[in-house]
């Protein structure tokens, strides 16, 4: 694992990562433009700078594998195979969004590709993922579950409960801590005791690895190794991928709690730029790299334009999918 070099890496594999990471970035940038244009209605949590984790982890998952994500889940959802048009419609609150306009960015989900949902509550997805993996084990299925959460989640109770649960039941579950250094707008280190997420996992008896999350190849190869153990029935594994959130916490957060110099320095570690440098070393033409970016930007612009042209859901849909038993309309008036 680790840094690939031009001589021995599969260039096509790198190109796939390059395209995927650009798709994620272009989606986020388009969504931010939508926020500026007041078409994206609610809060969004961009993952710009963290694309290496989404692309690297999801490249190791099969379609039938299950993924659970966080409030910062656009990248994971796209990388798991969701349709960007349905996602963009969801961010715009339109008909035919993944969730019919009922969830928005923070509840983005596409069960058809095994993406069981982003979650608006930090760490809540960890215990749900434990249950999904529990069902996989009970049903003797071969697939695995992957749960991505942020470093802020390690200070919530469900982190302890979910990791312990996965350990004692030896569940087919890969935990991925996407460690971007911030818990909302507070530096996580200032609010966290001990030696960090991987140390906590090891204390519960879950083998853990740490990786440079901005090195997509390292993420992919480490995740693949851990997933091989998970697939072999050896129980849960834990991956801590260190990265950096290049934007604010939400699309509206100017992130004044960190210096311009800090962010500029971090842009030098941009996972897409780092991968492009590797591709150049592998003699991929500049025009090809530019074409990857342009194709991603065009794809997301088209998705956005189509979403803008889609109507809002009919008001009557507010009463659908509440529950089978009882009529929600009967109590409304």
């Amino acid at each position: 694992m680790g840094q690939g070099t031009g001589s021995n890496i599969d260039v096509e594999r790198l190109r796939r990562h390059h395209r995927q990471m650009w798709r994620i970035r272009a989606f986020e940038e388009q969504a931010l433009r939508g926020l500026d244009e007041k078409v994206v209605l609610g809060a969004i949590h961009p993952s710009i700078g963290q694309e290496g984790v989404a692309a690297g982890v999801c490249a190791s998952l099969a379609r039938e594998d299950i993924l659970l994500s966080t409030h910062r889940g656009h990248g994971h959802t796209l990388a798991k195979g969701a349709d960007p048009l349905a996602m963009m419609r969801e961010l715009l609150g339109r008909e035919d969004g993944n969730c019919g306009g009922k969830g928005g960015s923070m509840h983005i989900a596409d069960f058809s590709v095994g993406m069981l949902g982003a979650n608006g509550v930090v760490a809540a997805n960890i215990v749900i993922a434990a249950g999904a993996a529990h069902a996989v084990k009970l049903r003797r299925e071969r697939r695995v579950v992957c749960c991505i959460f942020g470093d802020g989640a390690v200070n919530r109770g469900p982190f302890l409960e979910g990791l312990n649960w996965a350990a004692v039941f030896r569940l087919p579950l890969l935990f991925v801590c996407e460690d971007n250094g911030f818990a909302a707008t507070t530096r996580t280190a200032a609010m966290t005791g001990g030696d960090g997420p991987a140390a906590r996992a090891r204390a519960i008896g879950i083998p853990a690895a740490e990786v440079d999350g901005n090195d997509v190849l390292a993420v992919e190869s480490t995740a693949s190794e851990l997933l091989a153990a998970v697939r072999a029935g050896e129980g849960p594994r834990f991956l801590c991928a260190r990265t950096y959130r290049l934007t604010g916490h939400t699309g509206a957060d100017p992130a004044t709690y960190r210096s311009k110099a800090e962010v500029e320095a971090r842009w030098k570690e941009d996972p897409i730029a780092r991968l492009a440098a590797q591709l150049r070393l592998a003699d991929v033409a500049e025009a090809d790299l530019a074409a990857d970016a342009e194709a991603a930007v065009a794809e997301m612009r088209l998705a956005y334009e189509a979403a803008v042209a889609t109507p809002y859901p009919a008001a009557a849909r507010a009463y659908a999918d509440v529950q089978d038993v009882g009529d929600p309309r009967a109590e409304a008036f």
Binding site: I66, L68, G97, N98, C99, G100, G101, K102, G103, H107, A109, D110, F111, S112, L116, G117, N119, G120, V121, A124, I126, V127, I128, A129, A130, G131, A132, A133, H134, A135, V136, L138, R139, G157, P158, E161, G162, N164, W165, V168, A320, D321, V322, Q323, D324, V325, G326, D327, P328, A330
Partner: protein, 349 residues
Amino acid sequence: MARLSYLDAGRLALAEEMRLDPAVWAVGEDLGRGGVFGQYKGLAEEFGPERISDAPISEACILGAAVGAAMMGTRPVVEMRFSDFALCAVDELVNQAAKARYMFGGQSRVPMVVREPIGLWRSSAAQHSQSLEAWYAHIPGLVVVCPSTPADNKGLLKSAIRCDDPVVYMEHKSLWPLQDEVPDDPEFTVPLGHARVAREGTDLTIVSWSQQLHIGAQAAARLAEGGISVELIDLRTLWPWDKTAVLASVRKTGRLMVAHEAVSVAGFGAEIAATVAERLHGGLRAPVRRLGAPRIPVSYAPTLENEVRVTAERIAAVVREMVQAGPEQSLGSGSGPSPGPGSDPSHTK
């Protein structure tokens, strides 16, 4: 028919559903050794430790795992031991289980049963005695069930397990030993959302549920000796609640009392009282009354604990006030009922 306890009726319901459907499984603390009250006794032997699964003391994970497992095609029954402990898992129940189907636009359902034993249980004090059913009735997406008899504990638990919605299933700890006839038929179920007329009457309707229903029945029997005919309705399901049955009864009797063990303030009795007031105002022969616990935590010492009990004596006294003080017939009078001496809704003894 067989004579079974409320506890054994629930145990039989789970066993029957597990035999019928391999997707049903149960998980919670102490289940392997039969559950804290014995509700799971013998089930691990029949179904094995995977389907009757022990769990760490991790309420949030027990409930959250049930959400994930339900989304993946199984039908978990989770045991919270005491409804008070389920408060450690309110996010998982309220923000996750209740919302998942809706906020994901119907991509998934969450068929799960959350067993939360409720209620007063001698000298168990403030953290093992609560009745919080109204909290969950307030949450869109949840079904709330409060069985009061052995037959209902079998039939309603089976319906809850077969339901595709998350169901908060609240058995009353004081009812565990209650014995009664229970149908043997594995296909016997009690539909969710249908009240039961536990006693027919003409002068006044008492709506109640769970353990309080039996106290209402004692009061009704005593009142019958004095010539007051009480219709007693066992609501059975708080969400959805059987408005049709309650309104039909109050149309007949013209008087409504709701009696529940839970705190009166913002209890589910308020919802029933408000609905009856909205729909039947002109037809009421007395102001609607609610009897519930005062807004104090439950105590340990019997003299203090008894202060929260809604006794048969108190129910009977308030019923007498309502029947004697209200106008004999106000239908069509165009004016509201005149407040009688019994109209003070505070907890006067």
